[in-house]
Symmetry: C2
Subunit: 382 residues, 2 copies
């Protein structure tokens, strides 16, 4: 559980997390270029590009990093940063790709404030998001609780947003099933919102994980729910919308799920119920697959897993080599010289967009490295 | 309403309808070759191919044509034959194409026994089938009745099978909506089956149509329901399955609907209800589109209408020319010489299978004719 990030890195990211309102794409870009410590120094000094200035100038004098870290520790929590082993780097890759940028939901979080006894990376390795309307019907809450319970029993982490209605029922079901559930908040992890879920949030912080991009004490706001939704969608291999009216916020999470290339699933319901109208709309538009049981959710996500190159890394540890398209991309890389993604695409016959998605995944799996602006193959560990 | 078929043709088909158990593909082929009167004579004499013998030998001495025609007339009914103006030739084309043959549901009926005051061809020109489980839930019956009512109000004929549960609710809804409903039976149209629907069948025979391939007095049997289902699927531009368990007979009608190239629609329901499990299965297998309202049914069937070449004939009467692929096929035909379907495919760039489906439709629309084993263009009427 103990993070491997150096203290100055964690302090720098705590500072940046307080300074910039998520999601801050330009700041994320700067951190990527110069690292978090240097980025924090440049932000403090105001020596940054206009786009980073606009994201950081308002609060750049809020030097509360130590105080925030103490505050979260006081609640039994911690700040998890990308330099920590438990950072969910794999699920977040999708946030850095083109589709996410186009939907304006792109960019990895600067850091995550976390309460709970689990390794964040581990529990989100096999996770499904279960979301839906606040104004849920008895049917919807029943199904959400059943799905939460069943997924937990199947060893799948249930990710949701801790709202009233479907979210709450899914979290409760997962806790009842003896599994792990992750509540992703649109406010500080020490803020009891919604108020009626104070008890539930306390229980999740003890038995699951309560996480947020927002530093301690930050209160929820409408735009923060939308920003938060991208993390819910990214942390699950797929999202199940249990109930959604035509204008439900859950449809936002659904759209992001599709944009991130995750499997979108919906639970059908009575056509006489307004709470299911949004689900049926997604079905009719062929955005989503219908799921009637936990077995079908697992099947849908499993099918997806075959497509996605999360596969190679898992397989690599078992079999020593990536599979499918990832294998073809890997084979097209040279051992001694770095080649461009374009050349890899031509060599492998895999579409350029897929190559651009697979290369960072091979890198994360330790099978490829970025060298001199190109890509090079690394020996498969035995 | 008065048919145009000569008496000897009607007598011949009444005889053949009694002699061969539907559907009798080989007999249909013989009728297509030599006409019904000659076919009846050959069957009587036993001078037919072994496959036709096997379909007709058991009952070929049942000379009950006149008696059957009197019997149906006594019930206020009639025998409708392909040579009559009101024969639904257009909807039945699908039964003669390859897909239907492969599913063993192919072959136009030899004739149809009909009770009711409407022109069969006219009312099935704009029709949708609404089917489902006998063991329906209150929810299912409610939706079936609502759909029946709404379709009737929209001027769409509701075709169903007069069974308990969904079928009955759909018929009743359509009657309540002041529209036309067609009950397709797996027994004689004078047989009250199911017994509890005697009153409903009487009402449909007065305000809609009760039709069957089976001569008067024939009792229902399991295989007759399956044979009957192909007529329900063929007579609608699409089929709505309101409720179906995993092993419901409605799934047979659903499979035929898809095989015939019609739009298959299902009504979602609670995932906690076994009566909707078959519907959700069809959705998950992407066999069907979900529909939540009558407006969506009309939209789905309308969309389908654009694809299908029922379009050209309708358009032709308005605009004087077919549209889309049908137009391209029409253009590829010569005015003076007959050409093969293969050549039309090459000329038009329309797939051979589509050409083979469109040519008979152009023929029915009076835009093409079969000459010397090839196809020739006819002038568009002004």
């Amino acid at each position: 559980m103990s993070g491997t990030a150096p203290d100055d890195v964690r302090l720098a990211r705590a500072y940046l997390s307080r300074v910039a309102e998520p999601h801050a794409g330009a700041l994320a870009g700067l951190i990527g270029q110069v690292g978090p410590v240097e980025a924090a120094a440049l932000v403090r000094a105001g020596e940054v590009s206009p786009s980073v200035v606009s994201q950081t100038s308002a609060r750049r004098e809020e030097e509360r990093a130590r105080e925030d870290l103490e505050r979260i520790a006081g609640r039994g929590g911690r700040l998890v940063v990308p330099e920590d082993d438990e950072w969910p780097g794999w699920p977040f890759i999708a946030l850095t790709l083109g589709q996410a940028q186009r939907l304006r939901c792109g960019g990895e979080p600067v850091a995550l404030w976390v309460r709970g006894p689990h390794d964040l990376g581990e529990v989100t390795g096999k996770a499904v998001a279960v979301v839906g309307s606040r104004a849920a019907s008895g049917y919807g809450e029943h199904v959400a609780a059943e799905f939460g319970y069943g997924l937990a029993q199947a060893g799948v982490t249930v990710v949701s947003g801790a709202a009233y209605g479907i979210d709450g029922a899914a979290h409760r079901g997962a806790l009842g099933g003896g599994g792990v559930t992750v509540a992703v908040l649109a406010c500080g992890v020490d803020v009891a919102y919604p108020a009626g879920h104070q008890g539930l949030l306390g229980k999740i912080a003890k038995e699951g994980l309560v996480i947020s991009e927002y530093p301690p004490g930050v209160t929820p706001a409408r735009h923060r729910f939308l920003t938060r939704n991208r993390l819910i969608a990214a942390l699950g291999a797929g999202t199940v919308v249990v109930e959604a009216g035509r204008r439900s916020g859950a449809k936002n999470t659904a759209a992001i799920t599709v944009a991130l290339g995750r499997v979108l699933m919906v639970v059908p319901g009575p056509v006489t119920s307004a709470s299911s109208a949004g689900c049926h709309e997604l079905l009719r538009e062929r955005q989503a697959e219908p799921v009637s049981s936990v077995a079908e959710v697992v099947e849908s996500v499993g099918r997806f897993g075959d497509d996605l190159a999360t596969q190679p890394a898992q397989k690599q540890s078992e079999l020593g080599a990536p599979q499918g398209e990832a294998m073809r991309v890997y084979e097209a890389l040279g051992m001694r010289t770095a080649v461009s993604a374009e050349l890899v695409s031509v060599e492998s016959g895999v579409a350029l967009e897929r190559v651009r998605a697979l290369l960072p995944e091979l890198e994360l799996a330790g099978l490829a490295a970025q060298v001199d602006g190109g890509w090079q193959r690394l020996e498969v560990p035995r």
